[in-house]
């Protein structure tokens, strides 16, 4: 038999001023199952909590209802107090008579009536509460980081330095991501390779980091603490442990004119067996089978094999699948640039000297195709005039994307500055919409480009670019002076909009995390949980979440790492017990619940007899994944699944208590 106690809080005059608390208490005593009802000035105070505890003890209460402030306020307080007297915390229910009664209504009689109704409703609910145990999920203390750019590297290093084993998976032959493609970085002009390569080497040498380059995560299943991952290690055709990175193989490769270097943004060529750049980590080449003559021409060409001293080239190596179990995952898959050919009027792809921002980075870089000397891709001459166009694709809801790519204002200012430093007497023009330079030292940096380095900033758009006698004629508007301008330039650099890495939507689907309409991963909360994805145990970092600069990417990598180290500081992960559960006796295995579950928390479970024969298949809820939303409950035709704490019979009893 239920023994319910009702506690009506005055909250000083906050409740008692509008609600007749004595009347609510009297009405409570009339409800079947209620053995005691009292009112008190401040239930949340120590004496208030003590009276609750004493009453639970003395009256042997099986459940309590607090008619008080919102459950979002003090539900936990009262649950904790109840637990101290041995009551299951979920036998505490709150009737919200402050936020939703006394503070919003004025007529005392009617407010009292409403308070009584809400109190009765909760008495009916608490009578039907069942004990709920919080679920403990064991944690495999190993982390997976997907993407070896700066944010992934930072996350991997921080986790590894915290003493936890990390698997770092990178699709490309080397880690380093976009940052290692950059020349010098704003606003301090420190060279990207100089600050990046030590970190890359640290990753490679770290005893807690297992590095998988030229590899992709193929499949992820499971839940927080217990993700099963399959990593595909693509056939490199080179035995990594024997390779010395000497370069004899790629020097011997006859394919040195036809394959564009992805790393140099197609501004130079590479061989079929190659390292993307000299500081690659690991410094082990990859044989690109799609272009290698050995594979294209039936095994004839073996030049690299012959050249290799340690004989570590193996044409028979196959893709390898590695299976691992990890407790947490960081998704840091990075970004791409938009397709410039959307803007036909700028002539990208048509005129060789119209390049993207990343291509210009490669032209500036000492490890780039021109060894850091700025040369026109068309004829190799040094440009004297460069026009930079910002917001190509960004902030353009009509043709591109509506969002701001955030880094372009700064890198364009850097480009113009470095151009002025490298080519004395040169002139740059920058077409912009607004200048967004909001971090530490950024505004000063842009001002410096304008005032010391003489870049001419023109507020307006470019309408057309065409070639005339070896010059690129740039026609645009200067909206501040109201004039049309025409500039004869040697080169044009487009600050192209940033988009999520190609295939990141597939990664999100594989991981079961949400992403926005552009494909950027969405945070669990945009402000308060910026490192967490919508799925427990999966964290986000870097540009995969949206445009950001290097310091922000590093911060986000560290944030994801600290979340994981925090998670792993315990041996088990505690999940609230208010999750779905299946009545296996009545489940008919239609799996409608599985279809509506947004968290992939429902799986098939086979029930076997003693001889091991399957006698029934039922739905099964994975407590590590279930969030207790209850969508499955409504999808179930046989009423075999219910959410603890919000069971059907409880809701119907609540409705019934309101009957008139």
């Amino acid at each position: 038999m239920a023994r319910i106690g009702v506690f009506v809080c005055w909250c000083g005059s906050n409740i008692a001023g509008t609600v007749d608390v004595a009347k609510v208490t009297e009405e409570a005593k009339k409800v079947p199952g209620v053995v005691t009802a009292v009112d008190y000035k401040y239930m949340c105070s120590d004496p208030g909590q003590n009276s609750l505890r004493n009453m639970i003890k003395e009256q042997k209460l099986t459940g309590v209802v607090l008619a008080a402030c919102s459950p979002h306020m003090h539900e936990n307080t009262f649950r904790k107090a109840a637990v101290k007297e041995g009551l299951n915390p979920y036998f505490v229910e709150i009737a919200n008579i402050r936020e939703q009664v006394s503070w919003v209504h004025e007529d005392k009689e009617r407010a009292t009536q409403k308070a009584v109704d809400l109190m009765k409703m909760m008495v009916e609910k608490v009578k039907r509460d069942r004990p709920i145990e919080d679920v403990r999920v064991p944690l495999n203390k190993k982390a997976l980081v997907i993407g070896g750019g700066i944010s992934g590297i930072q996350a991997a290093l921080d986790i590894a330095n915290g003493g936890v084993e990390v698997l770092l998976v990178e699709k490309e032959p080397s880690i380093g991501g976009r940052m290692i493609q950059l020349d010098e970085t704003f606003p301090t002009l420190d060279c990207s390779s100089c600050i990046m390569t030590p970190k890359m080497v640290e990753v490679n040498q770290h005893p807690n980091i297992k590095l998988y380059t030229y590899s992709e995560v193929e499949d992820v299943s499971g839940y927080i603490g217990n993700f099963k991952v399959k990593i595909k290690k693509k056939a490199r055709s080179v035995v990594e442990k024997d390779c010395t990175g000497c370069g004899d193989c790629w020097n011997a490769c006859p394919m040195h004119k036809n394959v564009k270097s992805e790393f140099n943004m197609n501004l130079s060529e590479r061989t079929a067996i190659y390292v993307p750049f000299p500081q690659a980590v690991p410094l082990v080449p990859v044989l690109d089978r799609s272009v290698c003559l050995h594979f294209k021409k039936g095994g004839k060409c073996v030049k690299c094999y012959e050249a290799c001293g340690p004989k570590c080239i193996d044409f028979d190596i196959k893709d390898e699948i590695i299976e691992e179990t990890v407790g947490a995952i960081v998704a840091s898959t990075g970004y791409d640039l938009m397709d410039n050919s959307l803007y036909g009027e700028y002539g990208y792809g048509k005129y060789k000297d119209v390049v993207s921002g990343l291509q210009f980075e490669r032209l500036l870089s000492a490890s780039g195709p021109t060894e850091g000397v700025i040369k026109r891709p068309s004829d190799g001459t040094t440009p004297q005039t460069i026009v930079f166009i910002q917001c190509v694709g960004s902030r353009d809801p009509e043709k591109g994307v509506p969002y701001c790519s955030k880094v372009c204002c700064m890198y364009t200012a850097k480009h113009a500055k470095l151009f002025a430093h490298k080519v004395h007497g040169s002139q740059s023009y920058v077409f912009y919409i607004d200048i967004r330079a909001t971090s530490k030292g950024y505004e000063e940096f842009v001002r410096g480009t304008m005032e010391q380095d003489g870049a001419v900033y023109l507020r307006g758009r470019v309408s057309r670019i065409y070639e005339d006698e070896g010059k690129l004629i740039v026609k645009g508007a200067d909206t501040l002076s109201g004039n049309q301008v025409e500039i004869a330039a040697d080169m044009v650099v487009l600050a192209t909009g940033v988009i999520p890495k190609k295939g990141s939507d597939k990664v999100a689907q594989m991981l079961g995390i949400s992403y926005d309409k552009y494909g950027f991963f969405t945070e669990s909360h945009p402000k308060l949980r910026p490192a967490e994805s919508s799925t427990a145990g999966i964290y986000l970092a870097g540009m995969a979440q949206g445009p950001r600069d290097i310091p922000e990417s590093v911060v986000s990598g560290s944030a994801a790492a600290s979340k994981i180290l925090g998670l792993f500081s315990k041996n088990e992960y505690e999940v609230e017990g208010t999750i779905a559960s299946v009545n296996e006796a009545t489940c008919v295995a239609c799996f409608y619940c599985q279809r509506v579950c947004g968290f992939s928390a429902i799986s098939r479970k086979e029930i076997k007899d003693r001889s091991g024969k399957v006698i029934k298949v039922v739905a099964s809820v994975n407590p590590g994944l279930c969030t207790g939303c209850g969508a499955c409950v409504n999808a179930c035709f046989s009423k075999s699944i219910d959410v603890k704490g919000f069971m059907d019979d409880q809701i119907y009893a609540e409705i019934k208590s309101l009957a008139i």
Binding site: D107, V116, M121
Partner: protein
């Protein structure tokens, strides 16, 4: 409110001018929005009784029928805005169910003015106030005091 009846607690609160309204709301957005109306000391019609659920996706259409059967003159369903669901997609399930369920309610003879669906976020205390007030006024204006809600 102007037509307040004297008498016991039980008998009060369900005629044309004082209809009982039941609101099924999600815990994260609408319930918090209603709390915000409280902390902001906004005032609204006291006819509504709120039943809290984890997510609008948990709101079974049968709850709504049950509410009408138990004398509610109007039922409100409210959850997070599309895209804001705490459980990613619960409110989409809710929206789709609602679209199909409305027709069924009409078939059952319920005046469709008696059911309302809204998105109210945790920051929209003012929207909660206006939704409740407008819905209450609408139910009152139906001026139908028949005891059987399942007939036209």
């Amino acid at each position: 409110m102007e037509d307040k009846k004297e008498g016991t607690v039980k008998s009060e609160g369900n005629n044309v001018s004082d209809p009982r309204i039941i609101a099924f709301v999600c815990n994260w957005c609408t319930y918090s929005g209603a709390d915000l109306a409280g902390t902001s000391r906004m005032k609204y019609s006291d006819n509504v009784r709120v039943i809290k659920l984890p997510c609008s996706g948990r709101i079974d259409p049968l709850f709504i029928i049950e509410a009408f059967k138990k004398g509610a003159k109007g039922v409100l369903v409210s959850g997070c805005h599309p895209g804001d669901c705490h459980y990613i997609s619960g409110n989409y399930h809710s929206r789709r169910k609602y679209a199909a369920f409305r027709d069924l309610l009409g078939f059952l003879g319920v005046d469709l003015n008696r059911i309302e669906f809204s998105w109210i976020s945790a920051s929209e205390g003012n929207k909660w106030v206006s939704v409740i007030n407008e819905f209450t006024d609408k139910i009152k204006s139906l001026n139908d005091n028949s005891s059987d809600i399942f007939k036209k």
